[in-house]
Subunit: 428 residues, 4 copies
């Protein structure tokens, strides 16, 4: 199971493979297998791209059937049978069923592309160039989306100034500051230096920012604020959409509708690249082809996406997310938090974060991640100083696997707390 | 075969479907079939994404086998069996076999993403923000790549100023101007207003720009110029790479090696999203994760990509491109150009353009495209005023299909020349 | 005293003349006379350009003598007798006397030009493009300085995006927020979205922002913060330098030295255009001529500037500012604030602001300004909603004129409070 | 006549003083005197700021009288007697007399400020952000104007990307390229990458660019082009306006009227800072105060400006420029050009350039400038590689001084040609 070839041929930019240096070959639901056959419980889940599990059989059958029958695979953005099937299902079973009214754009099959499309459209609609985003945000890696991404290392990669964005402190950063009032003040204070933006973009849960969940009141007030000041509200639901938080769209819990919503990752159903930019009809003022691209119609992803949605509805995956999320929370609260008063838990549905900032930050979280991996759990870190262990299994994870994984995490944290105590005592 | 659902649910941004308003269901090699079973010869070829044909059986078998065996589908950028197989094959059979030495970056599965990565890296390497690009260029739709794209409609979609780019007239635009001397003058004239760029980016054939082929001398001199002035040369081989021009990389004919090369479209083998940014080892100064993304490891695309390369080598697809290209050129020269002295032919390998600028531009090219479609050929237009009919079938097209398609084009042009003559006479 | 010609010939951009529609002809110390001979007490003072009074006789004599003797008037930035005299005097009597060590740049004779030079240099020194500035700031009208200016109307005039600046809430805006900690968090939080800036620029008193005085502790902590994070501190002393706050440099009270300080307005002595950019020697890494301009050596301004400084020192003008400032504060506190509990007073030395935000904002302040003018006092408004009446007479104002002016202000406020009460009662 | 103090106290940015290291004290018409009393013939003329000579007695008397009578010196942009006198005279005797119709803006007293105002207004009028400028252009040093300035050293001083400008080759650069057609192609080619600009800005003579005179046909065609494509034409007449080329506005010879014209330098009459932005009435859509500044009303400059214009008209200074220009051209053609076939002469009126590019460029031009200075002539260099000696005396220069100065230049060139020949022979 050599990794020499990767080191020899692949660019230094490779990242996650450094944290999890196995060569993976197969996968099923919540488990990955490396070339030697060793299994790993997957709490990373393609960063949210595999909500219905690895190689979900229901979807798999449809995919193989489609390929076997020479269903059209690539057709740019032409009309296809598979796209129509997807469109129809998505409109009826997802949008109308939830009383949403959106036009659907296929903007290229990645999240960053969907965000770029949303930004272009918002600027076109409002004829303004600025965007407000929250500190802690992550929205993508291409130049327009990167300007909205707050991670300093990522920003420094741009090589040019990242502009046209005003960052606003996230609600959790300054409890004494009311974020909505702060934004309103930026808009109304004629000496704030902030130009009125075309849009405000948020994630309802900052995943990469460290698993911070914004409460419903904040989301509702933001929606009202945007309307009051004639600003579009864009919700980036790439990581926490597709039932991750317990509802298909993460903003359903606040009973709001953004003007533009952005989906990717699990919308592809089977881990295939797909992205959607959802647009309130009155804002669908695109000219034909104004945002184009070769892979706007990834047919196999349409097939998988529709199958994925069917599976989700038939199996109450939204409920699964809620129920398993509660179980995981209970376990962490009962078994892990007691390990140290410096540990914190945040999250909603099946995206949970154990914050080790006060416990030692990057050093301890890295050691924990390593122990987890060695003991068969893949879990990534996020947030400031990479101090938050992110728990994000497939929503379809078997409960015993979920608990087994959490046990391994518990043991890994426990072991590393002991180590750091010993190190401390030896030094002392 | 209703398209109502698309019109009702899909954003106005949809484009190609407007030119070819059928609902496609199946495809095989060079032929598309709509829901009614009607076949169309495909001279569009996913804008260059299907060089080995639709649903190529050799690739198809590997793909189905992989999925059936629960090969891992999604794993972010972790090490996988499929990726290693691809890397190894690509390095040995493609790069080393052609005496190239590149590190391979998987930058997200679309061309625009690969261009964005190339720009970031060039700027990081040279610590300069400017890029030179050619008028007529097309490099993508996300903000960084869009700044390099010349098409005015696309640029206007940005909603913000597109900066850090200097456009240079393409060699074909001002025959009296030596483009290399012009660029050199921009660099050496201390009053040119042009800041020394990090990189010069070109396509060796401007496909979207109207099928303009840059000659070898130009490419060689550009390579020398970049070295002389310490500027990186980036070649965007997204549309004309993967054997389209008769060699795997389009720049092989000039015996040059860019510092960074960008591939997408047909590299995915089967129409699956995949993109590569190839980097000379000395410039691979990325920090881990400095450019990341969810779909950097599209495993099914790795499987298809390797199979596609195998197929290409085993079946001498590069030669096929050259031979069929010559046949197509001969047919057009003998049968189509004589229809009017105002028609022009350009191209290399199996990317050919029939330029109707002098014949009436957009009006006539649109009518011809429509006639072609009605008679069973899908061919898109490109270039200024959309006046160039682009002929770009799969390289694996059967020769009778190729000639049949060209006949339909001939008849379509002929018919439309008659119509416009009649219209003219009636008015006269 | 017709103003027809102005309305016919001068651009609509003209501003202050609309508030004070007289045609002025002569002036002496704190008094302006219009063409009819009517006098006005000047509480506006050229927006701080006339700290030593209009047509100060001591300076006047030197100026006339210089011109009469054909002293050189214009010589770009060549060495001149007058410049050397000024340089020597400024270094010894102003800088060394206050233990400051700065190289002196003459960047073109306006404040905005001096700010542009400071920005260029800071960016060159630190090789970073960003600047932090405070909400409420005003730094000038040319593109670089305008990006730092917060007034929305001014910003909208730019016609292009104003970038490379991060605005930080001023200390008075959110009392619950410690501004220094907020800035430090922007710098240390790896997800703040703020890139490390080349410099932080502040005014020690936000004059245009509404006469907000930053306390010494804030200034000291900011100085320490800049050192800690390797960021330059730029102080824009254009409006409140030259003794206005009671010390020559406004930052003397905090016993700090900025890395770059910017002076203009009253440094010209007699109202002549002049500006200085003062640079700590280690940062004077300019190449010769890297920032140039035609009027970098306004010789008559050098003569007047030196004479002005002599006058200032000989007549303890700094003390005058303090003493008269206290008298004015006392008068306002005793006689004006009691008119309404909604009035607020802020200021230091002889820059004072009566804040009418709670009393009715722009409407009332405009009416008061108008009454003042009609009764012979020229005073401008500043700040949010233009709600702050700014009191900024020459530091050399005769005390009876100062009190007379304040009386007129008191009566104007009183009258307008009655009017608005009556209006209110009539409506009620 | 020590320069120690300058070296000790003044920033390294100082420039011209390095070429002419004397300390100047007095001046009269075309002669400067240093502190030792040594005279220098002034062929530099404040870079065009002293067209009516140093310390012109006619203007001097008015200036002294005004100051002596306590005429108001500083009043921001309020109405004044002096401004009205200037406005009325300028409108009637300059504008209406030449059939021009412009509103007058006082944008701050420097050229760069006037250019910034012009850019803002053009962008506001056309709601577009781009500007076209010519390679070789110089328009100023503040960020907006600097983006239009082509000199590489100046641009590198910016510290941020200079954007929103497209540079077009100047007519003299590629004789085979028709500049107007090139621009038209940028505008009409839908793949040029150039966005339609708000304005095209030019100097009718590129002074800093190396004394290149644009012919009338070019100027007329540019005017027509701008109208055809709804683009504003801005002429920067800062250096070559005020009669320098033989007419008050340099564009009079082409019988065109720009939409915005920018004046500074000699408009101040006596070397005092002043600048004007002239605006066709239909484009004067400024909001009050949208571009402001402290020194928009430099009263002493208004007095001097009006007196300067009176003097110019009374003494036919425009004619003087033409006549003396012809004499200087004849002398150079007869006496200097024969020294070497590698010398070239360009110019119009009294702005002439002797181009030494082929003779050795910067090295020889620097040596010549030095010899000239040692022998009592001040003349600066301009253009690429600083290879052009710029001859730009006051238009009022006595003819014997003009010839004497040219003799010294001749002798300096002659001596340096011999030196370089000898050096060459010694090396050979």
């Amino acid at each position: 199971m050599t990794i020499d070839i990767f080191e020899a041929y692949e660019s230094n930019v490779r990242s996650y493979c450094r944290s999890f240096p196995a060569v993976f070959a197969r996968a099923k639901n919540a488990e990955l297998f490396d070339e030697t056959g060793k299994g790993y419980i997957d709490f990373f889940c393609g960063a949210g791209a595999l909500n219905y599990g690895h190689n979900n059989d229901y979807i798999k059958d449809k995919v193989i059937e489609y390929i076997a029958n020479d269903g059209i695979i690539h057709s740019l953005d032409m009309y296809t049978h598979a796209k129509r099937e997807f469109l129809e299902f998505f409109e009826k079973e997802i949008l109308i069923a939830r009383s949403f009214d959106y036009k659907i754009q296929f903007p290229g099959p990645t999240g960053t592309n969907a965000v770029e499309a949303a930004l272009k459209l918002a600027r076109k609609v409002k004829k303004r160039s600025g965007i407000f985003a929250l500190m802690g945000a992550f929205h993508g890696m291409t130049l327009g989306a990167l300007a909205l991404t707050t991670d300093r290392d990522s920003r420094e990669g741009a090589g040019v100034a990242l502009n046209n964005v005003t960052f606003v402190p996230a609600p959790y950063m300054y409890p004494e500051l009311d974020t909505i009032e702060y934004i309103e003040n930026l808009l109304t204070d004629d000496h704030s230096g902030a130009d009125i933006p075309a849009a405000i973009i948020i994630e309802t849960v900052q995943a990469e920012g460290g698993v911070y969940v914004f409460d419903e009141l904040f989301l509702k007030r933001l929606r009202i604020l945007c309307d009051k000041y004639d600003i579009l509200l864009i919700i980036d639901d790439i990581q926490v959409g597709c039932a991750r938080t317990g509802t298909f769209f993460s903003f359903e819990r606040a009973a709001i509708a953004p003007d533009i919503a952005v989906l990717s990752k699990s919308i592809g159903g089977y881990g295939f690249p797909l992205a959607l930019t959802l647009i309130k009809p009155q804002y669908d003022i695109w000219s034909p082809g104004e945002h184009n691209g070769t892979f706007r119609g990834n047919q196999i992803a349409f097939v998988a996406a529709k199958a994925g949605l069917e599976y989700m509805l038939q199996n109450s995956v939204e409920n699964q997310a809620r129920i398993k999320g509660e179980k995981a929370k209970k376990y962490i609260t009962d078994e892990i938090l007691p390990l140290s008063s410096k540990l914190k838990l945040r999250g909603i549905g099946l995206i949970l974060g154990i914050d080790m900032t006060s416990l030692g930050g990057n050093n301890i979280s890295k050691a924990v991640m390593k122990s987890c991996f060695e003991n068969g759990v893949i879990a990534e870190r996020a947030g400031r100083d990479n101090a938050v262990l992110k728990i994000m299994p497939p929503l379809t994870i078997e409960e015993d696997k979920l608990l087994k994984g959490l046990e391994i995490i518990r043991d890994s944290i426990k072991a590393n707390i002991s180590v750091s105590k010993r190190t401390f005592e030896l030094k002392g």
